[in-house]
């Protein structure tokens, strides 16, 4: 931008002042043009980023809403006392172990009459979810006084019917290309016209553990696993991270050793997470013999992963407390520890909390190290403690995305939405804390 404009032929020679003026004008024009260009680049970059985010959210939500819903079929089940409670004692243990399948078959025959062929009858039973007796049994256990009456009970359909109900299969498709037979479509239409089919919020998604059958698979096991894992992680990282940050920031002498530690903490934050998983496998499982697949190990491994982040953010928060506050406290005779505990730490606390929550959000989304310590197992039971076998939300997403059943596609997206929901909640909490306690000096 330093070149001067060449004098055009035919124009009168200009005074130096005029030259200067022209130069400046040209310069100014170029400067503004550069500014406009730069602004445009920035806007394009943001548009691209927003567009990609939009596409991602659109795909996830477009698939995921189906995962929250489940197709149910209503059956009028006669709770035959002769079949489920021949003794008439209404004994809970007996009721629990009674065979409800004949009742359901009878109810199915009543809802879809005229199915006699063996193969078709099997197909008809397969219209319902795997283990269709569970909702009936639960209903009876809850209302034993209704035995002997006919009750309308909503039972989830099988995953294929569910996918069909949500528009997953085209009716025009040749029968051999879809996993649902023409006769099943006919039954579906019949039940639909009778008002016996409804698509509503899934009752298993937030109340059941994992399952091989999409219609029975829920997220509660993974959510509880994540909660336990994060609790362990928080209990370990918060005190260690904050104490380390306070020591390094306020007390440690500045010398080669503290420089070395600082560099290593920063490096640790950049170590690939799978490495921490291997470390956990070698140390916690092999050496200390801690339980495999347990939140206590997962939390410890994630603690190693998150610790550098928390130390760095806590140090930044401590550093942000103005030195004048420290001087004021020292000036009235506070000891170094009192300066920190009475003044610096309370002022840095919002920043530390924000960093911790963001670190926890990071831990919540982490998958790779947990694969190494066995938290990738297929676990049906909802964990009830820190040493129960468990999996976590992101690993659950990984497991479901790997499953061949078509209904798991929607379930996977739904699980992603749940995970994103938790992450957004945590980040919102961090932002609110920052807003609430923001201080200006």
């Amino acid at each position: 931008m330093t070149d001067t404009p060449a004098t055009r032929p035919g124009t009168p020679p200009k005074t130096p002042e005029e030259h200067l003026f022209e130069d400046t004008k040209l310069h100014l024009f170029r400067r503004y043009a550069a500014e406009r260009r730069f602004r445009l680049y920035g806007q394009i970059a943001i548009m691209v980023a927003l567009g990609m985010l939009g596409v991602m959210l659109f795909t996830i939500v477009g698939n995921g809403w189906k995962g929250f819903l489940q197709t149910y079929v209503a059956l009028d089940v006669y709770l035959d006392p002769a079949k489920i409670d021949p003794a008439g004692a209404r004994d809970e243990a007996k009721l629990r172990n009674a065979d409800y399948l004949p009742l359901i078959k009878d109810a199915l025959d009543e809802a879809v009459p005229g199915v006699t062929e063996r193969a078709e009858r099997r197909l008809l039973t397969g219209f319902l979810r795997n283990n269709p007796t569970v909702p009936v049994r639960d209903f009876v256990l809850e209302n034993p006084h209704l035995i002997g009456t006919t009750q309308r009970i909503w039972i989830a359909t099988s995953d294929d019917i569910d996918v069909f109900a949500k528009g997953g299969y085209d009716r025009a498709m040749p029968e051999g290309d879809r996993r649902i037979k023409d006769i099943e479509i006919a039954w579906y239409d019949m039940l639909w016209n009778a008002g016996r089919i409804e698509v509503r919020f899934s009752d298993v998604l937030f109340s059941a553990g994992d399952s091989r059958e999409p219609e029975n698979a829920g997220l509660l096991g993974a959510i509880m696993g994540s909660v336990f894992t994060l609790l362990v992680c928080l209990i370990i990282t918060l005190p260690i991270g904050v104490l380390a940050a306070i020591y390094l920031e306020e007390f440690a002498p500045k010398n080669r050793i503290s420089d070395f530690i600082e560099v290593n903490i920063n490096n640790l934050a950049a170590v690939p997470s799978i490495v921490f998983g291997l470390l956990g496998l070698a140390i916690f499982l092999q050496f200390f013999g801690m339980p495999r697949s347990a939140p206590v190990v997962g939390g410890t491994v994630l603690a190693l992963l998150v610790l550098p982040t928390i130390i760095i953010s806590a140090r930044a928060a401590l550093k942000a407390v103005p030195p004048s506050i420290r001087e004021a406290a020292r000036g009235v005779g506070a000891s170094e520890l009192q300066v920190v505990t009475h003044h610096v730490l309370p002022l840095a606390m919002p920043g530390i909390m924000t960093g911790t929550i963001i670190g926890m959000a990071h831990a919540l989304g982490e998958t790779a190290p947990l694969l190494m310590i066995g938290m990738v197992a297929f676990i049906v039971n909802v964990p009830e403690g820190f040493t129960d076998s468990a999996t976590v939300l992101p690993v659950q997403i990984f497991l479901w995305s790997d499953s061949p059943e078509r209904a798991f596609v929607a379930k996977t997206s739904a699980a992603i939405m749940v995970l994103l929901g938790f992450l957004i909640l945590m980040n919102l909490a961090a932002i609110m804390i920052r807003r609430r306690f923001e201080r200006r000096w």
């Binding site: 500045k254 004048s324 506050i325 001087e327 004021a328 000036g331 009235v332």
Partner: protein, 293 residues
Amino acid sequence: MAFDMQRAKESEKMSTAEAAPAPILTRVTVAARGAATAPANAGAKFHAKGVNVFYGAKQALFDVSLDIRDKGVTALIGPSGCGKSTFLRCLNRMNDTIAGARVEGTIELDGKSIYDRHVDPVQLRARVGMVFQKPNPFPKSIFENIAYGPRIHGHARSKAELAAIVERSLVRAGLWNEVKDRLDDPGTSLSGGQQQRLCIARAIAVEPEVILMDEPCSALDPIATARIEELIDELRTRFCIIIVTHSMQQAARVSQNTAFFHMGVLVEEGATENVFTNPSDQRTQDYITGRFG
């Protein structure tokens, strides 16, 4: 911690502009009045001998020897970077907290070395309070600002006693009438001048013997400055006050003794009226007449 050092330096830079040439004589009369009310040669509170201070490899003070008398105001003047703040911060060992700072020589308070191994800097700072250039109240209530010092030193046995200390300190700092109805308001809600008086009240709440003031008025407007100067004049009967200032007028107005520092060397010290009217060193003469600084 390196930041403190930088800040201390900046603070010296900032208010250089105040040291404009000014008619000295009118101030001398004020100073003379001040000098007349205090005995000329009271016992020395601080006795500094051969003090050298290093920040890393850089030497900031060269062989400074200075006696500071009790009950009165001693002003440390000089151009930016001359070492006056450094010297002040030696007196309550605030330099200890700066990484790489090293102090040589002896500084005695009431005849006892403050750099002795047995002296606890925390205890020393309770005896030698400090007021800083920028008002720095704690981001807590006005009451808590004052009560903090007495509380950590265990001066108050009961809440009533603590409240009495807070009131007494605020009264002495001339702030009581302005804040007595809002002691629970944050200290940072006060105006700049009020904040600085709050900081003075906070310093005197722990009953120190000496109050160090590091350019206490350089961040304040002239009216707030006048108010602080009045306050200093009232406090000097009870405390030994050492004030670093860039304003020679202020030094002339509030101090009885003046020490002039230049390039880390103590050039001249003595009764304020002597230093200002009859300086013995050419550099002092040049500085107070505004030829440099």
